[in-house]
């Protein structure tokens, strides 16, 4: 079940009755505010180009109103694009016929929502098998699969409860089970954990990461929380006013913020949990203690202080030494540079 990546190319969305008409102006650099003030149209997305990697978690981040929800809804075309393409398995989703689109949504995608969007008249079990029911899967088989996912997200025993009898965290577990039961390659999550308390949120992130290790789905995860983005994202794209202002790994973004806006964003981040050994190591070799090059600085610091050694060797996947780090290097890299 090798997932495929999603290619988003030159995607524009202008809300309003005559969106297409204003594409050339936006291409010529008209700003969101100008478009709104002069022509009463809202610029939702402005020339989005992102290659979302197969089997990885692509995070899309940005402040409220930056166009995150608009972007993720183009992947299953809950929102019609004004221009551009969204290519999956060589097919442009934006050009699919109505029935092709239904099949695509049924079999290739599943979605988790910020406000859960569970069916209040259905039990946990029946919510979970909703997607399978829509696909036309035989009832017995659907129940079997749904039960497996209910167990997987830790809700066994709650099959016959109604959503209104569950806490927010449990409701979102149902939302996750419902999406996973679909067995789709693409998992779309629009601020799926934003409505949850911090502790429960961490819990859910762990659940997602565990499941992802096993399933390798192509996940698109929307958040406005940088810590969440850094924890989950294999790749991160940052949106502002409907445009991508930076793309890269969490490390890229923390170490080389593209502008002052992002620099401001990443200021408070715990760098020890983002930056990896290979990024800051020096040439050389030190002692018999070693850490893998992908280790986070926090881990390296812990190993160093536990062993009491001055330096630690950084090794590659084959165990060959590629560099060295001292406690001094590590702490220096973990401190946010003052701008």
């Amino acid at each position: 079940m090798a997932s495929q990546g999603i290619e988003i190319r030159n995607l524009y969305k202008i809300f309003g009755p005559k969106g297409e008409k204003y594409i050339p102006m936006v291409k010529n650099g008209m700003s969101k505010a100008e478009l709104n003030d002069t022509y009463g149209h809202v610029l939702g997305l402005n020339d989005i180009n992102i290659s979302m990697p197969a089997g990885k978690i692509q995070v899309v981040m940005g402040l409220s109103g930056s166009g995150k929800s608009t972007l993720i809804r183009h992947i299953n075309r809950l929102i019609e694009p004004t221009a551009g393409e969204v290519v999956y398995e060589g097919v442009d989703v934006c050009k699919m016929s109505k029935s092709e689109l239904l099949q695509f949504r049924r079999h290739k995608t599943a979605m988790v929502f910020q406000k859960f969007a569970l069916l209040p008249h259905r039990t946990v079990l029946e919510n979970t098998l909703f997607g399978l029911e829509i696909q036309g899967v035989d009832r017995k088989e659907a129940v079997k699969r749904a039960e497996r996912w209910i167990t997987r997200v830790g809700l066994e025993g709650f099959e016959d409860h109604y959503p209104n009898q569950l806490s927010g965290g449990m409701q979102q577990r149902v939302g996750l089970a419902r999406a996973l039961a679909n067995d789709a390659d693409i998992l779309l999550m629009d601020e799926a954990f934003s409505a949850l308390d911090p502790l429960i949120r961490m819990d859910m992130q762990t659940v997602l990461l565990d499941i992802q290790q096993e399933l390798h789905k192509t996940v698109v995860f929307i958040t406005h929380d940088l810590d969440e983005a850094l924890r989950l994202g294999d790749q991160i794209a940052i949106l502002r006013d409907g445009a991508v202002i930076q793309k890269g790994t969490g490390q890229d973004i923390v170490l080389k913020p593209a502008d002052a806006y992002i620099a401001d964003f990443v200021k408070e981040v715990n760098r020890g949990r983002v930056i990896r050994a290979e990024t800051v190591m020096r040439k050389g070799q030190g002692g018999d203690q070693s850490v893998p090059k992908s280790a986070l600085l926090e881990t390296v610091a812990k190993r160093l202080s536990e062993s009491g050694a001055d330096e630690i060797t950084v090794v590659d996947d084959g165990g060959q030494p590629v560099g060295v780090l001292s406690l001094h290097d590590v702490i220096g890299a973990m401190v946010t540079p003052s701008v």
Binding site: L101, F113, L119, P120, H121, I134, N164
Partner: protein
């Protein structure tokens, strides 16, 4: 005092002959319509008449203890309340004892058939209305008219078309009673949570799947409120409907009005009230039971 000119104190009326000709013209036109199509329309409603008559006979032919048992059973199924079952049985016993059993059966038949017709027409109409803003804009004023126009006014064309009898009575009841179920079906579907609908879309639900698996189930509380109001309005029409030939408690009330039979009028009126209360409570509780799981407890 200023002299107010004549043309301000007297309204510029149509001339008398013109007005008379206009009215005559409309009446003649409708009579013509009725002469040409009346029989066709009557034939169209024949099956309905047969069904109503058959249903009346069925209710009357059923032995009264069995009838009470059946009604009590229905009340239990709908409301799950022993108190209401007991109240229903007591009311039916008193009604029978006071000699109103037969008329009550006629009224029950009329109300049941009218309600079924209203639901069969009204719910699909409400669903269509919820799909199209244009249709809503067309139908809403018609419903307003149906609810506000004095019912005596539409009795006239009904009589001209169909004469006096059960079917005209039934139609009069339906015209008056159908608006709530149409309105609340439309409203209920429109009020369904957009987020839930979006989720259904995201999972690839087709229009029909959304309608039957998401929208109708979630609109049920409102649809049931509409059904409840429709039944109540149908009951409110039984006296008026008896003016044009509906049988039952209503016609006895009408007779009492014209002859000043106080006791008879009050007794039959109270029987209508008793039926109304039972229908109301049963349909309300049934609706409530359906929405038990709808309230949001956790945010």
């Amino acid at each position: 005092m200023v002299d107010i000119p004549d043309y301000l104190t007297t309204f510029p009326e149509m001339s008398r002959t013109e007005l008379r000709d206009l009215k005559k013209g409309v009446d003649a036109a409708f009579r013509g319509f009725s002469r040409t199509y009346g029989e066709g329309i009557e034939n169209f409603f024949k099956p309905l008449l047969h069904f109503l008559v058959w249903f009346e006979k069925l209710l009357l032919a059923t032995p009264w203890p069995l009838m009470i048992l059946i009604l009590a059973g229905l009340v239990w199924l709908g409301a799950r309340s022993w108190g209401l079952v007991a109240g229903t049985v007591a009311a039916l016993l008193v009604i029978g004892y006071l000699g109103m059993w037969e008329d009550t059966m006629f009224t029950l038949a009329l109300i049941s058939v009218a309600t079924v017709i209203c639901l069969l027409v009204g719910i699909p109409l409400g669903l269509l209305m919820s799909k199209s803003d244009r249709l809503q804009a067309v139908i809403t004023p018609v419903l307003d008219l149906m609810q506000t126009i004095p019912s005596f006014v539409y009795l006239i064309p009904i009589i001209m078309l169909l004469g006096i009898g059960r079917v005209p009575g039934l139609i009069a009841v339906c015209i008056y009673a159908i608006p709530p179920v149409v309105r609340l079906t439309n409203l209920g579907i429109r009020l369904v949570d957009k987020d839930v609908l979006e989720a259904a879309d995201a999972f690839g639900a087709s229009g029909w799947q959304k309608m039957f698996r998401v929208q109708i189930p979630l609109a049920l509380p409102n649809i049931f409120a509409g059904i409840n109001q429709t039944i109540m309005m149908a009951l409110a029409m039984v006296v008026v409907a008896s003016l044009i030939g509906a049988h039952g408690l209503g016609s006895v009330v009408l007779k009492s009005v014209t002859n000043q039979y106080l006791a008879l009028g009050v007794m039959n009126g109270l029987a209508i009230v008793a039926i109304a209360i039972v229908f109301d409570r049963v349909s309300q509780r049934f609706g409530k039971r359906m929405q038990k799981h709808m309230e949001v407890v956790h945010g």
